[in-house]
Amino acid sequence: MAKFLVKKILAMIPMLLAISAMVFFALELTPTDPINYLISPDMASSAGNIEALRESLGLNDPAIIRYFRWLFNLIRGDFGYSIISGTSIREIIMLRLPATLELALVSLVLSTIIGIGIGLLSAINQNGWIDYVGRVMGVVGISIPQFFFGIVVIQIFAIQFGWLPFGSRMAPGQTAFFDRLHFMVLPAFTMAIAMTAALLRYTRNSMLDVLNKDYIKLARSKGIPEWKVYLKHAFRTALRPVLVILIFRLPILIGGSIVIESVFSWPGIGSVILSSISAGDYPVIMVTTLLVAAAILISSIFVDIATALLDPRVRFE
């Protein structure tokens, strides 16, 4: 297993290098002066000082040298600066990423429980009423725009009933987890909805697929109880493809958080990405993209591990 992991991680490195090179040279193509990655022209005091900074930072060097310097800085955790606010990108990410991860994880858990649960029931009761409800839910969930769903729940639960706050991550200064739990309810549910629908559909299809397999028939022919057939024989095998999308969903949730965070004024990485794209803050866009790419590569390793754990055929290859 350890060898397997090391191999996977080593295979990740050229991938990351390639992506980082793409990111860097894409950055080079943008119309922005690289000095703007450090100092917003609006805030700049004078051309002379900027030139001095440019020289002292080696921005006049050839691109290839700058690429490796940039890469080296990235590895050291120095991600550069936002053009717009002048803040270090590392600080931005350190501050905002936890908010997004928190939201993403909560909605991941929610949608996993609901999605897999209903998907399972739906498959077991194929063509029954649960299945019908589940299927309609599956389609409706991927059809309603997330932001619209968000607006609707804000209108109902925050404005009409006033039960829940309509935005933000916490009341000012109240950082304790339980003090701000109710801030998470609406965004987490809204975020979970599309994913629940997708998981539901996947689980249902995967289960139906497995239920048609001969080994289910064989299991039944052994005379074991139905629940055992479903949970022990069918679900465990059906879980593998579901798990794959489940883990791959985490980075996708970060992408999805862009809209959710905009609706709920959630101060996470999604709103950073959005505001940096609207403001043309390329360094932030690129670094976050790179991070998401890294996150995906890492989660693909997790997918491999999970698949290996679930499926001996993969483990013994």
């Binding site: 943008t30 606010s85 905002r96 309609v136 403001a279 390329y282």
Partner: protein, 539 residues
């Protein structure tokens, strides 16, 4: 569908209940009685959230003016100054020598003495800093020897002398607002920042827990969440009644207001104004500030290459005449926007009422376009960098009005960052721009041939240069008014910028909790001025 909704409702409900069953809203400062004696202010996340915002760019936030002082303290109009760190000043007759005397026994919040050396250090560092508001750079480069120091050919500034508690500035040309600029310029502690790189001063770790010189000092910094200001025992002035200020980094001011964690806030967003006005606790005070919203034409670049679409002044006049600025202002910014015809507001004493103002007149606009031989088959590129809904609505309306006189408009938001797009890439005919100005000098300074940015779109026209120089040098009110009137005639004639509106700012104070003396007058919230914070108290 119904079932689905029902299931969702149940789930949402159960989570709601779970959330509510946790102890609701415990008073974080739980002293039993309902009032918590913390003054709540906010910074919107989106700004830097891991550091105290440095003061050489924006200076006017309430937590900035109460922590850091300048040599002088301006009034709300920013015209007169009171002593602050300095006790007095004197300007020579020719306006070239300025003598400032510091108060004695001043101390930083860490107990170290605050002396003229800190002033000298701050000005020298500012000249080398990469990030600084243009008003400081403009004023300080006029000090004798400043350029040599900046370029590194001299170790000290010959025109900046410190003698005990007296600082003497020798200027190369008179600077009309030198004292006002010193009234804004925040003094930094030399003993803390001496070894910092001026180019990256704004990112220095000093700002995580800065040593201050105002009424308050920063005592706790919780990155991304909040920081706490408490009384600075080394402050020599009147001790404020409010003992603690909490500055929260938040994403949404309305949410903070609804949770009663917002005592002071200022904004020019119509949505926020409308929402906050609905909360009975808040008292709104609109303030007139120099906040311009205007279209800039991309006429010609620094090498003289001309953009034929907008080069003809008749086209520019036609465009300003085609837009019903007044109707847009009234419907989109009710009671917040005023029509703007020039750099000087219409109700200002220096406004030149003889200028035309180019009122809404689509017929004339069409005639002008035809007269100028405008090519109606061409698409006019209209750009903006604003992403808030009101600005988008605003520009949609502008595009509509231009369409009404037969111009095909391509309206879009810039892809890149605003400054690069406006002055380097320059792929547009007209762009919407904002300017929040300290004084008229900044509005007119944009016309100067030396303006590093605008010379790229105005081609370095020198028509304004002489008047601008005179304005910069003049301190006398009547003389300034004369110059301003001339400038207005000139700008109206040349139309290098198309003024649309001026926006007010609205200050909201939580009237249920805070009492503010009636003598307090609010000015431009972006700049340092006396708000008598020491007299504010809890009700």
């Amino acid at each position: 569908m119904k079932k689905r909704i029902a299931i969702l409702m149940v789930l949402l409900l159960s989570l709601t209940l779970a959330a509510c069953s946790t102890p609701t809203e415990p008073d974080p400062n739980g002293n039993g009685d309902q009032k918590d004696h913390v003054f709540y202010v906010t910074i919107l996340t989106g700004d830097t959230t891991d550091k105290f915002p440095h003061l050489w760019n924006n200076r006017g936030a309430i937590f900035q003016v109460t922590t850091f002082r300048s040599l002088f303290l301006p009034n709300a109009e920013l015209t007169e100054v009171k002593p602050d760190l300095a006790s007095s000043y004197e300007i020579s007759e020719d306006g070239l020598t300025v003598e400032v005397v510091m108060k004695d026994n001043l101390k930083w919040s860490d107990g170290q003495p605050l002396t003229a050396a800190d002033v000298e250090f701050s000005i020298k560092t500012n000249l080398k800093a990469a990030v600084s508001n243009g008003i400081y750079t403009n004023a300080f480069t006029k000090i004798e020897g400043a350029s040599a120091y900046k370029e590194g050919s001299a170790d000290s500034i010959s025109g900046l002398e410190v003698d005990g508690n007296k600082v003497t500035f020798t200027l190369t040309t008179p600077v009309g607002n030198f004292i006002q600029v010193l009234g804004q310029f925040a003094i930094y502690p030399k003993h803390k920042l001496e070894n910092a790189d001026p180019l990256e001063l704004h990112n220095n770790d000093f700002w995580k827990l800065p040593v201050s010189n105002g009424m308050y000092k920063v005592t706790e910094f919780n990155s991304g969440n909040y920081f706490i200001l408490e009384l600075n025992e080394h402050y020599e002035g009147t001790k404020p009644k409010i003992e603690k200020i909490q500055v929260n980094f938040i994403a949404d001011a309305i949410a903070a207001a609804q949770s009663n964690k917002l005592d002071f806030y200022n904004t020019n967003s119509t949505d926020q104004i409308s929402e906050l006005s609905k909360l009975s606790a808040y008292k709104a005070t609109p303030v007139d500030i120099l906040f311009y919203r205007y279209l800039i034409p991309n006429i010609k670049d620094a090498t003289g290459k001309v953009n034929p679409t907008v080069n003809d002044v008749r086209v520019r006049e036609a465009i300003i005449r085609a837009i019903d600025r007044k109707a847009i202002a009234e419907s989109l910014y009710p009671s917040l926007a005023a029509l703007s015809n020039a750099g000087v507001p219409l109700d200002h004493s220096a406004y030149n009422s003889s200028i035309d103002g180019y009122a809404y007149d689509p017929v004339k606009a069409k005639a002008l376009l035809e007269e100028a031989g405008f090519d109606f088959s061409k698409t006019l590129k209209l750009r903006m960098y604003h992403t808030d809904q009101t600005s988008i609505d605003f520009m949609d309306a502008v595009a509509y009005y231009l369409g009404e006189v037969g111009i095909t408009v391509d309206l879009a938001v810039f892809q890149g960052d605003a400054t690069s797009e406006l002055f380097q890439v320059r792929d547009y005919d007209f762009a919407l721009k904002n300017l929040s100005a300290f004084g008229f000098e900044e509005w007119y300074g944009e016309y100067a041939s030396t303006n590093a940015n605008f010379r790229n779109i105005l081609g370095g026209e020198t028509a304004f240069d002489e008047l601008i120089e005179r304005l910069n040098a003049s301190t006398e009110a009547a003389e300034r008014a004369e110059i301003l009137k001339e400038l207005q005639v000139l700008e109206q004639e040349l139309l290098y910028k198309l003024p649309l509106l001026q926006l007010k700012n609205v200050i909201f104070i939580n009237n249920d909790r805070i009492s503010v003396p009636s003598s307090v007058k609010f000015g431009n919230p972006w700049y340092n001025h006396d708000i008598q914070f020491e007299a504010w108290s809890f009700k």
